[in-house]
């Protein structure tokens, strides 16, 4: 549960010093006291593998956010925001520690699947594909999971509005 690691003095750019081996190319951030790692999509799989070797053996959660209508979100320097963000919550049982990996994914871009490292991501990646349309390369069975197979669109995208079937009122305009 201790947030700080061995060296607090070296944390210059990031506000939280990491008690784990930071994967190459990752930017360490912090959100309300929780550790966040920003990883480029090309180095995503390698970062997850590195964290796995470092003890983060459980992929508790994998989800995504569509930042289409909130482009000016605050990100640490060196991280370029894209439309989608895949958020992976990893847990180390031995150290009782969590870390959150955030990957920027552009529209129509795909991301490597972490299935071979964390098989628990099978259903979660399918859910993200179903809800956001983000493709995961190397996923064994990337099909829709919650919506019907022939569904049109990805419901949790911000440009997929609620109540798509217009409600008609008698005598009203349009």
């Amino acid at each position: 549960m201790t947030v700080t690691g061995a060296d607090q003095a070296t944390s210059s750019a990031s506000s939280v010093s990491a008690s784990f081996v930071v994967p190459q190319g990752a930017v360490v951030g912090e959100s309300r006291g929780q550790k966040v790692l920003f990883v480029e999509s090309a180095k995503y799989l390698a970062a997850i593998e590195s964290l796995y070797r470092d003890g983060f053996t459980m992929c508790v959660d994998l989800t995504a956010v569509d930042y289409l209508t909130h482009p000016g979100r605050s990100l640490p320097t060196g991280v370029v925001g894209e439309r989608f963000e895949v958020v992976v919550n990893l847990l180390s049982l031995s150290r009782r520690e969590r870390v959150r990996v955030r990957v920027q994914v552009a529209d129509n871009a795909s991301l490597a699947s972490i299935f071979d490292v964390h098989p628990s991501s099978e259903a979660m990646e399918r859910e993200v594909f179903d809800m956001f349309g983000i493709r995961f390369d190397g996923h064994p069975d990337l099909t829709r999971i919650l919506m019907p197979e022939d569904w049109d669109g990805h419901p949790l995208r911000k440009d997929y509005s609620q109540g798509r079937i217009p409600v008609q009122f008698k005598g009203a305009a349009s």
Binding site: L93, R144, L146
Partner: protein
């Protein structure tokens, strides 16, 4: 061929023909690519990749697990559906099972039949209204859902350290009672699934006693929306202590009855022991939490290992199994009811007096009486219930231990009064992934026992 044609034309003439209805009903359950594909259509590599990844072994080693030869023809195995409408699928869970005789070779859960877009709905409800949405996900432990949503909101607001003592103890009381009611219902459904039908009546009866207390406290049996960001909706009613004591006095002899009815019975043990076995490495690879992970002998409980509320200050044991089978999961849940009762007794002794919600005018609505006296109170009341309170930009993930495992809430806020994105990490959604691995090589007759031992809530799986 001609006879079929004749029949369809006849059906068309008579209107709603039975043949036409059957074909349309069959088509409506087709999910195309989501379904379990027959062996002839998939390569051996694909077949073994998933099993191998979970078991952390090579593809050839995983292939050795399958007792059916790689070139097995279609005639050796068949794929059948279990569900979506089946009395023991706990909702609308559909399992496609590949059987060889009575042995299950492969299994694939197909979900989504209860999907109502609750995460999308959550993006249009304010942080105050959000509780009404999340409480309906895992409808057997609504208070835990509300708790995790409230805690995530409080962390975003930066008030998670200022929640009054009494509110925290009250939350713990409700959370533990909810764990008891959920596990009591598990006792009922598990008994019913395995043929101990009278157990169903006893389990529901005891659960109802707990729900009666919830109704007295929150006004509703389920879907309470009682735990809210900043505290709780109301204080405990007069006489709550006697009601809880009544529950604590009533339950131990009833649990002893369960032991007589189920635990010691040779039939019960035969049905559960060695059924649906999952190893610790499999459970970790599949991110299974709660009683499933604990049944493999790993003592992992967020209440103890990453304590929240006041769990650091109460004394309780984390119940673990040894074999990872359905019997262990049953025994763990039965004993967790006892552990929860132990916690509730300590809460009764230590419940402090004080406020049940934070006194932060921007978050907590003013008391009704103040609205008549104070202009500011009226404005705050109006603002909170129309516009809601604004939550600073940021994102958090908060997790607690629900009866089914780790329930987490990920909220991203853009600084407005509704979550930009609200995601619930549902324990059942992840735990259902264990089904193919628990069922592999087992008997189809045990499928029901295995589903039941996972204790999934489909409202939470599909959200």
């Amino acid at each position: 061929m001609t006879t079929i044609d004749d029949r369809t034309t006849e059906a068309a003439v008579t209107g709603a023909g039975s043949a036409a209805r059957i074909t349309s009903a069959g088509a409506s359950t087709s999910e195309g690519g989501q379904e379990l594909r027959p062996r002839s259509e998939i390569s051996q590599k694909e077949l073994m990749r998933e099993a191998g990844a979970v078991l952390r072994m090579s593809e050839s080693a995983a292939a050795a697990l399958s007792e059916l030869s790689a070139d097995a023809g279609e005639d050796q195995s068949m794929i059948i559906n279990m569900g979506p409408q089946h009395p023991s699928t706990h909702g609308v869970l559909r399992l496609m099972l590949e059987l060889q005789g009575e042995k299950v070779l492969r299994c694939k859960p197909i979900i989504g039949y209860l999907h109502t877009g609750m995460e999308k709905t959550g993006e249009s409800l304010t942080f105050l209204q959000g509780g009404t949405n999340v409480t309906r996900m895992d409808y057997l432990s609504p208070l835990n859902n509300e708790l995790v949503f409230a805690m995530a909101t409080e962390k975003l607001l930066g008030i998670d350290g200022d929640i009054p003592e009494r509110a925290q103890w009250m939350r713990m009381l409700l959370s533990e009672l909810n764990r008891m009611s959920s596990h009591l219902l598990f006792m009922a459904t598990n008994g019913m699934d395995l043929g101990a039908v009278s157990m169903m009546l006893y389990g529901w009866r005891e659960r109802e006693e707990v729900l009666r207390f919830f109704q007295k406290v929150t006004g509703l049996r389920m879907n309470h929306n009682f735990i809210r960001p900043g505290g709780l909706a109301a204080d405990l009613p007069a006489g709550w202590r006697d009601d809880v004591l009544h529950l604590l006095d009533m339950l131990p002899p009833r649990l002893a009855e369960y032991e007589v009815l189920m635990t010691g019975q040779p039939i019960w043990r035969e049905r559960l022991q060695g059924v649906g076995v999952i190893t610790q490495s499999e459970a970790l690879a599949l991110a299974a939490t709660g009683p499933i992970l604990r049944s493999t002998g790993l003592a992992w409980d967020l209440r103890r290992d990453m304590p929240y509320l006041k769990y650091r200050e109460v004394d309780f044991d984390v119940v673990v199994g040894a074999h990872g089978d359905a019997y262990d999961r049953y025994a763990i849940r039965l004993n967790e009811i006892r552990e929860s009762m132990k916690i509730v007794r300590q809460i009764l002794e230590r419940m402090p007096s004080g406020d049940y919600r934070i006194q932060n005018k921007k978050v907590t609505p003013p008391p009704r009486g103040r609205i008549d006296e104070s202009m500011e109170a009226l404005i705050h009341h109006f603002k909170i219930f129309t516009e809601g309170f604004k939550v600073p930009e940021g994102e958090v993930y908060v997790a607690i231990e629900s009866p089914r495992g780790e329930i987490g809430c990920y909220i991203a806020s853009d600084g407005s009064s509704v979550p930009y994105r609200m995601h619930v990490r549902a324990p059942s959604f992840v735990n259902v992934q264990c089904l193919p691995h628990m069922m592999r090589g087992g008997l189809v007759a045990d499928a029901v026992a295995v589903i039941s031992s996972i204790d999934p809530v489909l409202g939470e799986v599909d959200r």
